[in-house]
Symmetry: C2
Subunit: 400 residues, 2 copies
């Protein structure tokens, strides 16, 4: 019997306990009879009505001191005290499995190193893409590739909102409200809709793909709060779907890696355009395999618990391994403002002003706005032209 402790008994932590209850027999079959036992649940709250209510502790000390506990599941969210607790658990000789993207994005490399030094594992499959296996396939199956790009719809809340806005012809705030009522969005939705969650996840994937720490603070981050229904309609009429993407791309010419988080018009011919609702989709292009796409539920209690459990079972099988990247700060990041890209523009400026700034582009007039697509140009050049319009203007990148 393997004893585990769950730190943080919220949506994901309780899903982990439920997964163990549901599938413990099936696990045992695959693991030569070994079963899992949730010995401790660390939470500030009490859960008197939960079958595991008697396992609840309010301090980490008993977990750290109990040598029978070999695996700690960290599903707390936030960096304080999750980072400190994870570190303590690793230093106490326990493997740590986490779904916490904040900790992985900020302290992942350090915890990976400490785990290595202490002969344990620090695994984080659940930190990106919910239940979709992505960290391990990228690390392991694509080990034989040099990664040319990673492009992902990484936030289920944003994807749900964008899908709903288009389908139900709603504005952003109405769709957000419904997402909150359904539990798909937090009461304070900023981390999702302003792109920070996506930004952390693409930073993790970029770190993994290119081997050094890409800090989300160095990654351009735009959200979806300015998007209107009319933008989605214009996009659809022109063969595109609007998606919030995290992108990391190695430029073949200068060798730099360009990482950003921003909404994009994705051509309908691209499989990511068909990833809707709360689903996530991640496309990886390798120099040998070509493009591979992974899709599935990117969030939610059980899908995320599924990924956590995959890591737990990996530790149980004692297949010790290092998955991760250097603590050293990435020195290969390019300036995304120099990226050359076509854009969709919506502006309150007049058609005449548009044509005088952008030349003879095809302008659609809708809901008091002029909408059009630009040629490919750098962000710096685009900024000059947008400024010359002198009116409220929204820009969305067009993915090739």
């Amino acid at each position: 019997m393997i004893n585990i402790a769950i730190m943080g008994f919220g949506v994901v932590g309780s899903g982990v306990a439920e997964t163990i209850r549901l599938n413990n027999e099936a696990f045992a079959k695959r693991m030569e009879g070994v079963t899992l036992n949730v010995k401790y649940i660390l939470d500030l709250r009490e859960f008197p009505d939960h079958p595991l209510g008697d396992r609840v502790v309010h301090e980490i000390t008993p977990i750290l001191e109990d040598r029978d506990v070999t695996i700690v599941v960290e599903t707390m969210g936030g960096t304080v005290p999750a980072y400190d607790f994870s570190k303590k658990a690793i230093l106490a000789g326990k493997s740590v499995v986490t779904s916490n993207k904040e900790v992985v994005a900020k302290h992942g490399a350090e915890l990976q190193r400490l785990a290595r030094e202490n002969g344990v594992s620090y695994l984080f499959e659940a930190s990106v893409g919910g239940g979709i296996p992505i960290i391990r396939p990228m690390w392991q199956c694509l080990a034989s590739n040099q990664v040319e790009s990673v492009t992902g719809i990484l936030n289920g809340t944003c994807n749900y909102i964008l899908t709903k806005m288009e389908r139900d012809k709603e504005d952003f705030s109405t769709a957000l409200k419904q997402a909150q009522e359904l539990g798909y969005a937090e009461k304070n939705p900023a981390a999702d809709v302003e792109g920070h969650d996506t930004c952390r996840k693409i930073s993790i994937l970029a770190s993994l793909a290119y081997g050094k720490t890409v800090s989300n603070e160095d990654v351009l981050c735009e959200g979806i709060t300015e998007i209107m229904y009319e933008d989605l309609l214009y996009a659809r009429n022109n063969g595109y779907s609007v998606k919030l993407l995290g992108r990391a791309k190695k430029d073949a010419h200068d060798g730099k890696v360009y990482v950003l988080t921003a909404p994009h018009l994705v051509p309908e011919t691209n499989a990511l355009a068909g990833v809707n609702d709360v689903y996530n989709g991640i496309s990886v292009v390798g120099n040998v395999v070509g493009d591979v796409l992974f899709c599935g539920r990117g969030a939610g209690s059980m899908p995320t618990a599924s990924a956590v459990m995959a890591d737990v079972l990996d530790v149980v099988r004692d297949c010790k391994k290092f998955i991760g990247w250097d603590e050293e700060k990435a020195d290969f990041l390019g300036d995304v403002n120099k990226n050359v890209t076509a854009s969709y523009i919506r502006t309150k400026a007049s058609k005449q002003a548009v044509i005088s700034a952008f030349g003879n582009v095809a302008v659609t007039e809708m809901a008091g706005y002029c909408m059009f697509m630009t040629e490919e140009m750098s962000d710096m050049d685009l900024a000059v032209k947008i400024k010359s319009l002198g009116e409220e203007t929204v820009r969305i990148r067009i993915m090739k």
Copy 2:
């Protein structure tokens, strides 16, 4: 330095050599300086102009006797002599990595057991889905799930032909000929277009998912040779796309697993409907994670080599592990003829004959055929009705 031998220097084997040449430096970085060396190439032919031409041997003995060779890559195809050679290599204490679905489908469980007994690995990521990571994600990441179903577009040749028939309004034989000219189909295309290749692959996935040997000989196997352009047109007009699917599904009521290979009308709302050309797509439904989809190039030299190399690097990292299933024959297979499903029917019988057999169904008349969709019924019931039509009749299952 790790020495490997490549058995079979055809499309995949030479892709493996090329991948090592391209990415050896990158491998070394991930493997603490270890590099790979192709010490032997076993093939009946000579390759005097290839940079590795001097490594060619025509017998397996030197490979078996060379203790410096720790990994053997088997990319021969067919079971003779690939099965025998793989067994000998394992018994000689070498890990074997294969792309050979015939051997894996027929002898996989035995070779997995022998590898385990001899402290080496038998890995076969490349046997299904080409470059798409699917074996390892199913085994590892979805370890925490009980698999409810696996549904896959597993043969790139068939998918290319079906895509081309619809896009270019061609009949089957014209599209096949083009596929052959482009190298997507073999001169003798039977294994692909009659469904045998798909059947072997779904048998491998079903064995992996449910733990005992599902023999492809026990799996119903229908190909795409009878499909006409008009079937694809009818399907599209009704919101479907026609795909050759391998399916394995555990029935929640009787606990049986139903496995089959057959073309299906796939609803356009299902992501598999959007997997076109030579791409493969595999959808796995787990009881915890929900549905997860993997897509990518399902065949070709480099994508398949990518999957082979992932296994090779796994062995190099010395993460010894068992991936596989029991040699015992599956005792859980249900009779697919008892499956209840709706169908699309194309028949030379008259509209009146159709309505007298199937009731008041909506009949489309095209190209001298009556086309319609049936209610859900068992294959046995359907067979009786089709027989009563007394004319040439083609049936394609409709996926829910």
